[in-house]
């Protein structure tokens, strides 16, 4: 335990960001992610960094745009309604190929919704959120340790691929405390020759821009961007597979839903039901291969979500609907209980016997 500390998930994100070399944070208060801002407000002034409480989420994401254009690691965080406001900026970041880290500690929606945990921004996150053809790398931590780990990974991927990484967390993971170790190997930051750092009269001026009035040119930039996305899909998809090899039933869940599901899987295994869990850690790129492989032997898939069923569409797409996929869910800030998931597994097992 030597180097482990108890920390809230939100605080772990903030500390990991600092360790990853992020010295600029811009945000606007919103429950349940405000601990990130509070942590940054405390720490940044002591390490020569910038913490700024912006006048709005819109301003915050545009400050992120500015720092990113200037070549520095930068982040913002918010919760669902605030992410909707930031979506304009997310689209511009994508259009200008700028790296950034954005945290969405999700709460129930739509509208003002509630403040309790939710996963109902899955579509918004994995499909881009703002206007235009684009993606973000979407990382879904399910523990405080992963909040830290994926934050660092998020910065690295963002820089490497020049795009936004989003940490798609939820109120539970953000608010809960668990032991976390910061024993990470942090890669050296890569050069950003495209950044607007001042020409120093030594090079042609750099332009950070998302405007292409010439349609042929805009088409080419979109196609080039999607070639990069193809590489990411090939290289960066990750999932945790738990007792999947011999499973007849697969439970698919991410984040807090995966933790609940694991309890249920263990309970069902103890009863002799052959059930396993696939937990996508990257939601975009979606770990299609893990599902495709499991669909070769599994007879049913149960998707457990804190939404009306969003990830279920990706599960169906990646298994090409070869296996029936059912939904086990709670919404509005409610969380499925392990027993609810267990019952769903038992029911599926009964169906399988017929």
């Amino acid at each position: 335990m030597a180097d482990k500390v108890l920390m809230k998930g939100n605080e772990a994100i903030a500390e990991a960001a600092i360790q990853a070399g992020c010295r600029h944070y811009f945000g606007y208060p919103i429950t349940p992610q405000t601990e990130i801002a509070a942590y940054m407000a405390k720490r940044m002034p002591k390490i020569g960094g910038t913490f700024l409480q912006a006048e709005s989420e819109i301003a915050a994401i545009n400050m992120v745009y500015g720092v990113s254009a200037a070549g520095k690691r930068v982040m913002t965080s918010s919760s669902s309604p605030g992410i909707s406001l930031k979506s304009e900026g997310l689209s511009y970041l994508a259009g200008a190929d700028l790296p950034a880290l954005v945290v969405n500690c999700q709460r129930g929606g739509p509208g003002l919704g509630g403040i309790q945990p939710s996963q109902s921004d899955y579509f918004q996150a994995t499909r881009g959120g703002g206007h235009g053809d684009y993606h973000m790398i979407v990382l879904a931590p399910s523990s405080v340790q992963e909040m830290a780990q994926l934050t660092i990974k998020g910065f690295e991927l963002a820089d490497e691929y020049r795009m936004t990484s989003m940490i798609l967390a939820d109120g539970t993971i953000g608010q809960m405390m668990e032991p976390v170790s910061f024993d990470f190997e942090i890669k050296e930051q890569i050069e950003k020759p495209w950044a607007t750092t001042g020409t120093k009269m030594a090079r042609k001026h750099n332009i950070v821009n998302s405007l292409y009035l010439n349609p042929e040119q805009l088409e080419v930039t979109n196609i080039e961007r999607y070639k990069r996305y193809d590489i990411i899909k090939e290289k960066e998809a990750i999932a945790e597979e738990y007792l999947v090899d011999d499973a007849d039933i697969i439970v698919a869940a991410f984040g807090i839903a995966a933790r609940v599901s694991k309890n249920a899987v263990n309970q069902a295994r103890a009863e002799g039901i052959k059930v396993g869990l696939i937990r996508p850690i990257t939601l975009w790129p979606f770990p299609e291969k893990a599902f495709r492989k499991a669909a070769e032997h599994a007879k049913q898939i149960i998707c457990v979500e804190l939404s009306m069923g969003q990830m279920i569409e990706d599960v169906r797409l990646s298994t090409e609907c070869k296996v029936p996929v059912s939904l086990c869910y709670r919404v509005g800030g409610m969380i499925p209980t392990p027993d609810q998931v267990y019952q769903a597994i038992v029911e599926a097992a009964k169906k399988g016997e017929k």
Binding site: E55, N62, G66, A69, A70, G198, I207, V208
Partner: protein, 257 residues
Amino acid sequence: MLVFDRPKALCDVPLHYCPGCTHGIVHRLVAETIDELGIEGKTVGIAPVGCSVMAYDYFNCDMIEASHGRAPAVATGVKRSDPDNLIVFTYQGDGDLASIGTAETVHAAARNENITIIFINNAIYGMTGGQMAPTSLPGQVTQTSPYGRDPKLCGYPVKVCEMLSELEGPEYLERVTVNSVKNVRNAKRAIKKAFQNQIDGKGFSLVEVISSCPTNWGMTPQEALKWIDDKMIPYYPLGVYKDRSAGIFAHSQEASK
């Protein structure tokens, strides 16, 4: 012997502005300022959405294109990424700065963000073809106020310098125009001061330039310059609205001393 040359900070490309538009003059004044202060290598400019959206192609320094109205927020990010070395300016029109981006403008000013803002007020949306701007005058006919701007229906124009001067934050606010040689020279002085203030670490400096839009005002360039004198300046008086270092404050702040 060359007596009139292109400033080095201006790219050698044709500008896309309409004939008689005053954007070209203001671009030149900004570029001359950058040259004279020797700051091109450390300057980052932020272009808006509006007629000057492609200003990133016209200035030789590093340039960023911001989303509509957010230039002061983007500038805040850039400046804070390297406050000791970078000089950051935004170049924004009235729709961008005084309508969709009002919050970003007001709060950058309130924070006394150490940036320079060049604000082009021509009382109309030029790029989209002549719609009513937040600064369109009462009675002004535009595409979206075809019977003249009626304050009862759509409110009164926003007077940016007056509004911001009530804030404690900003360092320097001045309104100028470019409709005569004398006024152009005066505008140059103000723009240079707004950049010098940033170099000296004094903070938020905004120069509002009353400009013309012959195309969308439906006038010849000469008529448009005269319209500035006749209609615009009476509503938007020229002058210094705040200069903290020189001891010039808005009335309320003066009264509180």
